[in-house]
Amino acid sequence: MINNLLPPVVIFILGAVLIPFLKGKLKASYMLLIPIVTFAILVNLPQGNIWTFEFWGYNLIMGRVDKLSMLFSYVFTIMAFLGILFALKVKDNLQHVAGIVYAGSTLGVVLAGDFFTLYFFWEIMAVSSTFLILASRTKESKEAGFRYILFHIIGGLLLLAGIMLYIQKTGSIQFDYIGLDGLASYLIFAGIALNAAAFPLHAWLPDAYPNGTPTSTVFLSAFTTKSAVYLLIRTFPGAGLLIWIGAIMVSLPIFYAVLENDIRRVLSYSLMNQVGFMLVGIGIGTELAINGAVAHAFCHIIYKALLFMAAGSVLQMTGKIKCTDLGGLYKTMPLTCFFCIIGAASISAFPFFSGFISKSMIISASAHEKMFMIWLVLQFASTGVVDHAGIKVPFFMFFGHDSGIRAKEPPLNMLLAMGIAAFLCVALGVFYQPLYNLLPYAADYVPYTGAHVVGQLQLLLFGAFAFTLLILSGYYIPEIRSKNLDADWTYRKLGRLAYKIADKGLNYINKISEIFVIGIVKIIAGFFKDMAAKLALFISVNFWLMLGYSGKRLEIKKLRLYDDIMNGTLPIGIGAAVATGFILLVFLLT
């Protein structure tokens, strides 16, 4: 019976193809139906490996169904529904198609039982999400999108290299627990960690996400990083390295979040901080810690989306997103303000909001393992969350100084999406047991003990008290229009500078490094890029000939397409080429 059902990823991707041909209410209901149908299929799946196929002698598994993959599939499907509902009135088909393909490919990644399937959807995820950044169609978004896809191609290549070595070693394309041991595992680890925005491979996230459209950033916030978290739980639970990476991630970004002026960039740094909590949980690796990481991913996806939806609503209705430009919006956007505060309370882990019942598991796990320093760092970071996400985001948008802006509430569909997300945040915080029942390990954890609740309330309220005193006394850090340097400086400025120096004085060293390092990469990348271009040209030229183009017009069209691909303005060419390259490599190696 199961084989009669389509895998979720197929429903999403095939479903997305029809979207441009539909209009009005039919289109809206059709898009919403995609995650609903998928959810209905998911809840009825039996445990074990389903949707298995033979392909070139390999056994592909498109449905590895267990508690871990199911929980992530549920939350990604819920998230897809919220994201689609929020973006329902958007007139741009590119965003709808890219968003749904992106959400679908994430489901493909989560349910993949073998490396081949995993990598295939991994690349589609990178490519489709790039379009969500490009969808703003501004100069900044184009440049950020280009840096984003370059970064993810590098991550993809690391992962691919690791996978090839791993397959060679084990002789199987199936994967489960890998563990940090040997080159192959470190390459795989780096490839996945890059997608989790793990320090120091994180700079793409705060660079790219704030450049999406008001609605597309909501999609972006949910899928890439949390699918990486899922994979890390699957492949590297208990890797001590993750504790340290996580500890840096929970603390370093909060300083940037305090400084940042762009609300969506504040939220991006805050996202990294939250993923940091999950990585610490995965690194600790005990049953409680893993349960905590999974539960936190689940809750986090929803409240973070809620916060990005509130910020997106403000951006859409006012055209502004910087702290220095906003303020006093509660007067005309009280509902958005209310939902934003619920999101803020959830991310701050206030008792009876979702963050509390998940984050406290991770912190308790660190206490159980007697990791005092890590525990202190996590508590410090929790206070940091109160500042940037709990207070700063709602305060500077909706209260603070009156900006004079009197924007209306966003349309009903956007309010509804925020309302549902806000409802889920409270529901998860109060009725946590259904979520605990779905966790990979049996959970007898009790979040609401007197000590937990009082301790957490003291931490949060006295943090807020410090804010009150600082802002009243004028010591609170002022909002300034500025750009804050992060690791992306190394490739955005230093890279350029280094190139100049190398170009002028160090030609010799430059040449050697080019031959040995860049040269090889260039040849490989160029080969795939060229192949994709030629393939695209071949298909397009035949198509154009059919349409009656000829002579000079055909030449111009050909040239333009070739330029587009070679300049990387057409990331699908690269992504598809990498995917194609992978198939080719497997073919060559066997």
Binding site: F255, G384, D387, V454
Partner: protein, 81 residues
């Protein structure tokens, strides 16, 4: 156009809100007297540990961020130059 909310334009309301907040601060401290604290690290057994740690963390965060700003802050169009 709907009418505007102006509740926080009135300084009296802001004052009330702040007062409520201070009462809550006292309440969470008092509440600590009535809970079972036999688990966890030793520092947790000190009265008001979380309150002090939360407050200090927050102040440290803001002042450290001020220092960091001196190092990392550039003009908005820094990368376009």
């Amino acid at each position: 156009m709907k009418k505007e909310l102006t509740i926080f334009d009135n300084p009296k309301n802001v004052k009330r809100l702040r007062l409520g907040f201070y009462v809550a601060l006292v309440l969470v401290l008092v509440a600590e007297l009535f809970i079972d604290k036999h688990h966890g690290f030793e520092v947790e057994h000190f009265f008001g540990f979380y309150a002090v740690y939360g407050f200090i963390s927050y102040v440290f965060l803001i002042f450290a961020a001020k220092l960091l700003r001196k190092i990392v802050m550039r003009k908005e169009d820094y990368y376009d130059q």
